[in-house]
Amino acid sequence: MDKGLLAYLLIPLLSAVIIPFAARNRPKLADILANVTLLAGLANLAWLALRPSIIRGEFADIPGDGFSLLLVAAVYLVALCVTFFSAWFIEEGLPNRSAYYSLILVSVSAMCGVVTTTDFFTLYVFIEVLAVTSFALITTDESGAGLEGALKYFFLTFPASALIIIGIAVMLMSLGSLSFESLRFFMASDLPAGPVTFGAALMLLGFIIKAGVVPFHTWAPDAYQGAYAPVSAHLAGIVTKVSGVYAIIKMATLLRFFDGRAQALSEMLMFLGLLSIAVGALAALKQTNLKRMLAFSSISQVGYIVLAAGLGTPLAIMGAIFHLINHATFKTVLFLNSASVEKSAGTTDMDKLGGLEHTMPWTSWTSIVALLSTAGVPPLSGFWSKLIIILALWEAGLKGYAVLALLFSIVTLAYFMMMQKKVFFGKKTPAAESSPEVCAPLLAPVVLMSGLIVALGLLFPYFYVYVKMVAERILL
């Protein structure tokens, strides 16, 4: 475990324990404590990332492989946006207000554990903590949909946990150790790789289910649609990306140690990635509910990351890492905006919405920035990550995959344009007439994230150097 990043795990846990006691008589104190904890962590990370040596492109001070630090920053950023948004979104009388914030902070700790560990079993333990907190957070919505979403999440992701633990057991029997490094040593020997490959395949299957990759995606739309609105942003923005997608990238980089002996696994990952891109995009075209459409879009975007991870070349891994970070930014904006629309108009049914740009201009414009980035329109951040992935596919001679990835990027633009037209453009519907713009604190997180999307796109050369360093450290 990366000890340099341990504080980012321990401090939210401490805050999570303090909140129920401190906020017993003053519920608003829970909002303040959660936000201050995450803001302090983010300020610390900014201080670490903005050192003169790092700006000069010297990354000697970056702990570990640099990937952990990048993801810890993404976890804190998305969680801060969600808690800040929740502070103004949650109704005054919510009985479990402090537990809600404590659960978000525990999930932040668990995510930091997932991205800093170097051991398969510890990875499993933290992923399970994340599953338990996600399950409880989904049920924050007291409606039947929330419960249904939680149950589907429960029943589909826990068999995945069983697969992961069986895979870990097979690994332990073959490797005699559970550390990621032991795989490297094992492959250097001449021992038969069959059992280890089998264990890796079981683990990968578990992570694929947790990431909501097609054909194991059925839990994701129900969970995202049924969950409490800010929780959807937390889940889609970062939780499923860390518990599933990050683990897939990690496994894919480890599979490189197999030196071609796990080619079938890599090919399977690439095929499922492309299938996710296609099925997610085509299903998103048909949706009439905004949150459900965003859920299918999320499945499609995860497909790009899985496709790149399966390819496993340094350029592809770079694209996967960058797209993972980008996905956290634009999906948080889109889900938080859907929460604002739900709060203001009282529905997320796109057939009942229309003309919201007149009454909710800030929500409309930030949505445009996020959707253009998701579709890969230059010069926004999503363009660069998709370009890297498509270039990596082309360079590897997989021209069919590259062309299809590009084509479905156009489909992404199409369904998002349809969404924008239905929800924000056109004539005002009766629901839009009485839908004022949400208050400034609810807009602040989405404006911040939209600014980040633009900044990551415009400052890409600087960010490219960092991501390149991460890919090199992971693969060497």
Binding site: L13, P95, L103, F121, T122
Partner: protein, 162 residues
Amino acid sequence: MTTHNLLFVLAAVFALWAVMAKKLLTSAIMLALVSVAVSLIFFDFSAPWAGVFELSVCAGLITVLFIGAVSLIRADEDKRPENRAFAYALPLAAAVFAIAAWFYLPPFFEELAAGRQMAAGGGTIGTALWGLRRPDLLGQVLMLAAGVFVIKSVFPRRTENK
């Protein structure tokens, strides 16, 4: 030998309690205690890795999952009347098993003790928990915290529904 005899009896008592309890929550907690006793037996037989995994997965994770599932059931459904005839037969079955165990378990434990001597050097509880699997302990603390907050988050509404 006395320690694991005691632990074995404790595990059996907790298991019996888990099956006979009227409340699902009590059953879940008793099942966790069974796992704790079993993991201590593993430690006692010089199998610290098995002990650590039993403690992590069964006593920690599975219990939190059970508590999460129980929290989704409304309080009134938890107390639905049921035929408990089997529960009264259980102590009788346990008594029969205890008599059989009196004769058969000591030689079985002797055999296990021989295995313990072979496994000696695999590490103590302290080495396994604090040396080899320290990050897992952190995960366990997180799991425990998550369990407490799940109860705090979902249970108030469970009572309100009633």
